[in-house]
Subunit: 318 residues, 6 copies
């Protein structure tokens, strides 16, 4: 079985893959014929494929998120690899393959990641802050096991959100140790809560976002998280106007730093500034790390990265 | 008794005034002496005044928001009128003057304004929307009788907020009649709720804002109003995820139109666009109307107005 | 005869339609063959169509703005409806169809709209302002009966400009009644004149703009309108430096509010601010109303609208 | 008689000077006393002066634009030179001094400058363009002999506008010779007309601008110049819609290059781009040359210059 | 032999051309076939061409920068001219054609241009400045004979950089004559050095830029030129901290005027402002001149030009 | 001896202080008298003071950076503490006080800080990178012991630059451990070099910046550091065009992230992004920590901080 990032021109192969995207197109012949553009993927990467002379049954069967067995040939076409599909069928129980084996995912088990988040939440000293964080984690629930952190911006894969939070918690611990004037409870809570409503903002399956929800568009994950905190306070009998609830609201609302980036207020407590920069640092470095990994090692430059001033990144040879 | 906007150079006068601002300064003589810069105001306008050789008792007595009786003389100083205070004392019960007579206020009784808002709220056809609006009006409570709409931007006077809402409701009714595709309930609710948390954002007395509250700075009136709506839903047993609650949240959150103006989401329903422009139209025209009124009629140009691209406005002579 | 907004997958139909756009393309076969992409439209909407194996005669006959009789079939292709044309011919006198019946138009008779504008112009109290407005209406002449208000931004259809002016006049009357300090003559004149040179800025037929004129590009409709006012004053013996002509010039020049939106000066009289916001309110709400109407009722969201921060709009289900 | 730019600490002097600005201030003594802050100027520069214990007569006599005889002493005060006035009186006929000798002025006779502009205008080959330019020069009339090019931005002195035009004409001739594809008539005409309405935009005497006119604020010199061109065409029987009039309008309207700098349209003919850069080059270099000249030669850096990104400029020692 | 800018619909021709760009595409037939999109160019312009049924040998032979002999026919396709290639072969020695005859180039011999730059450099009076300029010219070396000034922005052709420098030197001489306060040595040196590292920033052949170099992307031509100056000083024993080296560094570093245009410091000496505007004036006017030349004379408007606010330019008919 | 941050209204005290700023002003009495505004400081903070009736000798003696003995009284004046100086003299050898005891400084010994930077530099694995870093540290020399990191933006005190570097190195180590794909040598080198030319950009004594140097203004610390790296390579025989020198140049040049913040290129290697965010995180949090410390503990809000979107920061009470 052939891993996608190891394919090269001329390879003939048989293997199982996940269809990530699929569309029907028509040739310009008279009469026109249908063919399919299919994006095959596995945990190592993805490659475009063509299925010529697609039947009605093909169009019905080979939709996005299907697991399929493919026999094909790899061709170099306009300097990029492309697969010509000769045979294709849906995977079945007898094949003994699992969908999740073919999905791009954070480099750690979702359960482990969520457990570490839960453990950090449990370490929060202030009882009311701890209660609110726990409530919001419960509300996110199982969605935290698979939700990506964004549609394509950063950590856009299975359990990407949980992975992002865990790495930020590590960085947060370091910063709080380096600067004891920071309130470690607030830094922890801010990290866990800042994107906690992302699973409600986006519609995703297997870490692949297909759309934003109506609430995601009309309210946005920042204000949704603020509403979750209010709900947590109401349901737990915590004074919604208390200093600590105000602090949590402020952390969530200000974490995009500027109005034009979606924050209705700007950071005005030290922990909010820390949160914003911890978030940026983790997101930006992950974008580059992921881009370098999914760029063929023979290439010096990654594609341009939107979240980094639309710059391509150079693979230093040192 | 001399009304401030009728004073002219050389007038000697006795009258009652409200101290709007007051500060102690020192002369550069050796030894330096204390004097006071006092802003006298009445319902018609305001004028700077000097109290030379201020005693400790003066400094204690003549603070902001005091009502005083003044005997003074009007002088033209560097092309502007200024009062030299000869005698001054605090007003007392025997004087029979009321603080509120000296305060700049909306051109309608606060009770009448609030009654009109209540009446509009009662006309909302949708029961849940009506319930939420009523809850928020109750939460604003008596503060709505006196709260200004802003610190200095627009409608910055006694009952300014209520007056702003009433005028917007009139305009909203017209627009909804002109364009039946708009949901009149949402337009009404959006107008009443959009600035409903302003009294919590600002600390004001007699329509004069002395500061922003901590919640005002850290959360802001837009997100505070969003939290009020959530509270209203919780307390009234209304589904917080329903279409109508989402619509109310969206109206409030988007009414500043752009991120850089404080809205975390941009308008994405027709009623939100209507709300934004009704708000702008009423606020901007009021700013000009107020500026023209408080500019001496012999002046062709008002001072520059910050909320209008920092432009001065011309008094057309047609 | 089948109305376009009622077509559904599988329909076979015969009907008359207006060709809104038409282009010849080539298949990639060897040798390549010509086919045509044609946009069919009627008053209810528009739909893309394909005419395969187009002959030289087809290419000559079926150009934009032709009225044609089509026999075809509706197909769902990549989630959108598309027509396959089986037979097509130009409409002729015997068919008894009128081009204008197939054109998207303002929801009122052009003659009625222009009559209402003329009536409003006649109500202007100031004789010189009235004379200038009348002169400019005469100069616009019959073009006002059909000119759209913009190429695609808003009111981009037959008589769209006149409709925009009429609705703004209604709103202007309301605002002037609500705020008597405004000069109603100037508001009326500003509304009628603000876009009066649009027909000179754009080349349009049947409300469809094909291009901007040279003067439109090099001078722009704002400065053109300013020149019309000057011409009106010269021809009518009115002092071009008078207060009222200066006011009219200012209204027209400042109505886009900001330099980056094309206004060489910013509003500095109250009526100019009113004009700008009345214009915005009417244009923006019309964009949304039109977008919701031409979006299939089964869709929750309109396409993105450029003039509204490029946001899609939600069809609230209340 | 002491020239201002040669004054140094401790000098006692007697001389004639022009009062450029004058204001009355009060000491903080009890009772306060009046003194005057007077800006003395001559053709070489300006210096602040103090007249203590000012009498009513002093306040009446020593206003801006008066020519006075002063006996005073130069003092270094907080690192800057300042004059203490001991005696002062108005200059009279017997003194044999001329106001214009004390005014900062372009380094050439106004009559010579205007003659050169007239000569360049007469060289325009196209009769209609030549007629329009001549008309506008006549309309500017004698104001061109003294008008500055701006209030403070650049060429802000007696005959500054004419000097600016003359130097631009020299540069324009060079560019047209270097690039024959440019239409030299249009370049000449654009240079002469681009700021021709400045004298109508600003109220100035002796090259000192005291204010902007109402038309200057509400219409602006760019649109005013456009109206002058239209007037020229009307009065001279030239078709206002002709290619050449359109070109002149475009040159004037676009010469600030961007909307945010006041141009309603952007340059779209080569000559308009040339005009914009010739204008910028001349204005910017003149600002620096003037700043270096009026900065004491012992200073390495000029004050910050607003029109040059608010940068100070360095006097290179090469 | 047919010159490209003289081709018209229906022409059959045989001639030699340079392939500027070349790509292989596939038809949508089953099985798909390869064809080639080739851009043919000569010194007069360029035209798209199609080579159907491309063989493996075709794909190998007809790459960018090949000189070929073509027999073809000109067709009007969607309002643009296009060539259908019937026969094509590589040019050979016997054909007696030179690659450079087919390349778009500056309108002067490269050797002449470089000689004029060398001559100007030799005229620099200050020995150290002259030495540094000479060192950098040597370092640029023969690359100056062919390097374009930019990838596509301006002077994007053979010897474009040298031509740009020569024309700027002419303009610089004029400005220095007009304004003697400018240091002519610095203006000359600034003009020669400002883009001197462009050949290191870009990878080009025959004036056609295929890519930016790694150093070009990571350091940029502005900082590279600064490093060349430092190297020149080190190698020539000139004090790197001297006033004149600082001046040269400043000229190069500030010549893009603003941070967002790539300059780490803003102009703070007069010569730097002169340099920036001389550079802009020459680049912008050349862009328009080139666009007008390569636009068919029957077209009134050029395509949009990115470096000029993305505006199209009008060919005035005067 | 009274520490400044412990002074309160009414205190009479004698103590030694550093004069941070000093200016002579004049009273408005006739004749005017001189007095001095002096800023007294010690390691705990600073307070304004007045010395009335200043003699010529006072004006000569009590300049900035003098160490003085003061007998005075603390007064509350307009809500702020101020000292009235009764007696003042210069400190002398017999007083046994050290200037450096009165200076605001980083919370660690300069020698320790520099030793830690040296140690980190010695750990760099790559010999050439290590050589260049060592060269630049040598060039900065003793200035690193006292130089602040900025004039007022952040770390604006004695040894502030060294402290900033040390804390960034700690954070850099953590990030490199967390993300092994980063090149730790480059991160270390980037941190040490990014502001290494600050001591050449600013003129400072005792950590107090009095001005920017000419090279600081005309070249800027970013390009100066780039030139230091080039010098290091030349002097050490390292290839200036090698991958590693290019990487160091890129790190320094891009560390302000955006052109408008002074970087001529944007980060295009992962380590450059890490460097920018480590720099921001350390600078921003230090600004807040310092502001909270120097704000009286009874105040809830710090003054506005320019480097943090001009926001004041809230002292959370948790």
């Amino acid at each position: 079985m052939s891993q996608i990032n190891e394919m090269k021109d001329g390879d003939e192969f048989v293997g199982f893959y996940l269809i990530k995207e699929s569309e029907v197109k028509q040739t310009n012949t008279t009469p026109p014929k249908d063919f399919m553009n299919i994006t095959l993927s596995d945990a190592s990467g993805q490659v475009p494929a063509k299925l010529w002379d697609a039947t009605e049954s093909d169009k019905e069967l080979f939709k996005a998120l299907s697991l399929v067995k493919v026999q094909g040939i790899v061709q170099l076409y306009r300097e990029k690899l492309q697969v010509k599909i000769n045979r294709i069928r849906k995977a079945n129980a007898a094949d003994g393959v699992e969908l999740t084996d073919f999905v791009r995912a954070a480099p750690a088990e979702p359960e482990t990641l969520v457990a570490r988040i839960r453990a950090a939440a449990a370490e929060i000293a202030d009882a009311e802050v701890r209660t609110i964080v726990a409530y919001c984690l419960d509300k996110a629930g199982d969605r935290l096991l698979h939700s990506p952190a964004a549609k394509s911006h950063h950590h856009a894969y299975y359990a990407g959100l949980a992975y992002h939070i865990v790495r930020m918690l590590e960085l947060g611990d370091f910063i709080c140790a380096q600067r004891p004037f920071l309130n470690a409870d607030l830094v922890k809570a801010g990290i866990i809560l800042h994107d906690i409503a992302k699973p409600e903002e986006m519609v995703s399956e297997l870490g692949i976002v297909s759309d934003y929800s109506n609430a995601g568009k009309l309210i946005g994950h920042i204000s949704l998280a603020s509403l979750w905190i209010a709900e947590a306070a109401f349901k737990s009998g915590i004074d919604p106007d208390s200093e600590r609830v105000m602090a949590l609201q402020h952390l969530v609302l200000s974490h995009h730093n500027l109005g034009e980036w979606g924050s209705p207020v700007q950071p005005q407590i030290a922990e909010a500034v820390a949160l914003h920069y911890i978030d940026s640092l983790d997101a930006k470095l992950q974008m580059i790390e992921d881009a370098l990994e999914s760029t063929a090692s023979r290439e010096d430059w990654t594609p341009q990265i939107r979240g980094l001033e639309n710059k391509a990144f150079y693979r230093m040879k040192l």
